[in-house]
């Protein structure tokens, strides 16, 4: 892959938790506007790989470049800037239960210091796209799993991120809700985002186009780049 088209580059990355090797010698390039699946059984290292990308944890060895930023050299105060490049979707949604749907999505724009008028316009727009515009004043506990994940998707894309990371986004959902979420991810991919989905859902992968990377016991098993 031409270096300039890679938005994420990993070089011989290892991650250890004590004696346990969670990721072993991972080398990987992810292109701009690529849809990549990272597939494998539970405990294979899918989530670990994603967590390293947004510096939820540091690598034990190796280097990661995200949009030109070397994660090993990034000072602590710049980590929020790194994370704003991502829109992250979690299996457990990670919505703030004491804030409304609107406020949960608006948070992404508030941390960037956007003006109130812009935030309102943007939040309403993304909630419309995910089909949650009429539930703006609802609180997450009153929503179904599928609805919560749609709100989580809205939050992930509200800041127009370059890269969308989805860690088992359909893991807690029924088939219909899972299909809706996948459609949304596809939509944002078609709008130019790079999408990385960690999943063990084979149905999801089989019905989609996009590169698939297998991971087993911390090791990437398929060729790392296109």
């Amino acid at each position: 892959m031409a270096e300039k088209s890679a938005v994420i580059r990993m070089f011989h990355v290892h991650k250890r938790y004590g004696a346990k090797q969670a990721l072993v010698d991972a080398t990987l390039d992810i292109a701009k506007n690529e849809f990549l699946f990272i597939s494998g059984p539970s405990g294979a290292g899918k989530s670990t790989l994603l967590r390293l990308l947004y510096l939820a944890e540091p690598v034990s060895e190796g280097q990661i470049l995200v949009d030109g930023m070397n994660l090993s050299r990034i000072p602590r105060r710049r980590i929020p800037m790194l994370r704003r490049k991502f829109g992250i979707i979690f299996q457990d949604y990670k919505l703030i239960p004491t804030r409304t749907v609107y406020e949960n999505v608006a948070l992404v724009l508030e941390v960037r210091g956007n003006k109130r008028s812009l935030i309102e316009k943007k939040v309403k727009s993304v909630l419309r796209v995910v089909g949650m515009e009429d539930r703006m004043t609802a609180y997450p506990p009153s929503l179904s799993g599928g609805e919560q994940q749609r709100v989580a998707v809205a939050r992930a894309v509200a800041g127009d991120p370059k890269i969308i990371l989805a860690d088992e986004p359909t893991g807690s959902l029924d088939d219909e809700s899972a299909a809706t979420i996948f459609e949304l991810l596809n939509m944002f991919y078609n709008r130019g985002a790079t999408v990385v989905v960690a999943t063990h859902d084979k149905t999801l992968i089989e019905n989609a186009t996009g590169r698939v990377l297998q991971i087993r016991q911390g090791r990437l098993e398929t060729p790392p780049d296109i």
Binding site: M81, R83, I88, L95, V108, E110, V111
Partner: protein, 292 residues
């Protein structure tokens, strides 16, 4: 800043109980410490007023002639540290005593002769108020001719002043302890709020919130708690002061004693102290907590 203030107010309203506890604690601390301060302020005023009127009574020997009296007055006037001299004749002294002992004038009326001596009431300058200087002056005056006795009642005021200074030191110590206790309680309240919101803070970090974005609303909360507590504490103190003042108005004016509340500047400083207390509480909690 408006955004952060709005956020802080929202957070206070969402954690009402914890915030009310902190505000009440700060209010009580401000009340107690300020009450001490107000007492010291007014007691100091009273001492200063008493000290201004330091007087030495110089009693003349019986059978002192007019010439000897004038000579003694002249000698007194030449002593440094004396502001004014007033001659009280034995007759004037008796009249004064009769005026003070209105119900026992019959006792005085039955006296065959006036037992009271002629005297000079000597007022000292403010700089000569110290016990040592008064003692020195008294000894000097005692050595003058025609002087039979020198009397000054300031010893008890100075002993009381020493006790008062000791009491003031204890007050400072207690004030410091109250301050630390209040900071500790405010810190623990914030820590509880932070703990209850740790998941929320974690999510905020994941979407790219900076440390300041997370911390500033908490600092503002601390300031608002401190300001609220300070206002309530001062308000309670002022109410108590007004009530006591009106209750004892007659007594105080009869004794020519005026009590006063803190000046505006002092009130602002006390409110500032309350805000610093709230802020420090946040600082100690946030320093430890908001780290990944």
């Amino acid at each position: 800043m408006i955004f952060y203030t709005r956020r802080a107010i929202k957070d206070i309203l969402e954690n009402r109980f914890l915030n009310v506890v902190t505000i009440i604690t700060i209010a009580l601390s401000v009340l107690i410490v300020s009450a001490f301060g107000l007492f010291f302020l007014n007691a100091q005023d009273m001492f200063n007023a008493w000290k201004k009127g330091v007087r030495i009574m110089v009693y003349l020997a019986p059978e002192t002639s007019e010439t000897q009296r004038l000579d003694t007055r002249y000698r007194l006037q030449s002593i440094a540290g004396i502001q004014s001299i007033r001659f009280i004749s034995k007759e004037d002294a008796l009249e004064l005593m009769k005026a003070r002992m209105q119900r026992q004038t019959s006792l005085l009326d039955n006296l065959r002769e006036n037992p009271l001596p002629d005297a000079f009431e000597v007022t000292l300058v403010t700089e000569s108020n110290s016990p040592e200087k008064i003692e020195f002056l008294a000894q000097r005056i005692e050595g003058l001719p025609s002087v039979s006795e020198v009397e000054y009642g300031q010893q008890w005021i100075d002993r009381f002043a020493n006790f008062f200074n000791l009491f003031k030191l204890v007050g400072y110590g207690m004030g410091a302890m109250f301050f630390m206790a209040t900071v500790f309680i405010a810190a623990n309240t914030i820590r509880l709020v932070l703990y209850s919101r740790r998941e929320e803070i974690h999510i905020m970090r994941l979407v790219g919130a900076t440390d300041n974005f997370i911390k500033i609303p908490f600092y503002l909360e601390g300031l608002l708690q401190g300001l609220s507590g300070g206002l309530i504490g001062l308000g309670m103190l002022f109410s108590a002061f007004s009530a006591i003042g009106s209750q004892f108005e007659q007594t105080l004016s009869a004794e020519m004693v005026a009590i006063r509340f803190f000046s505006t500047g002092t009130c602002v400083a006390i409110l500032g102290g309350g805000m610093v207390t709230g802020l420090l509480g946040c600082f100690f909690s946030l320093k430890q907590f908001v780290k990944e």
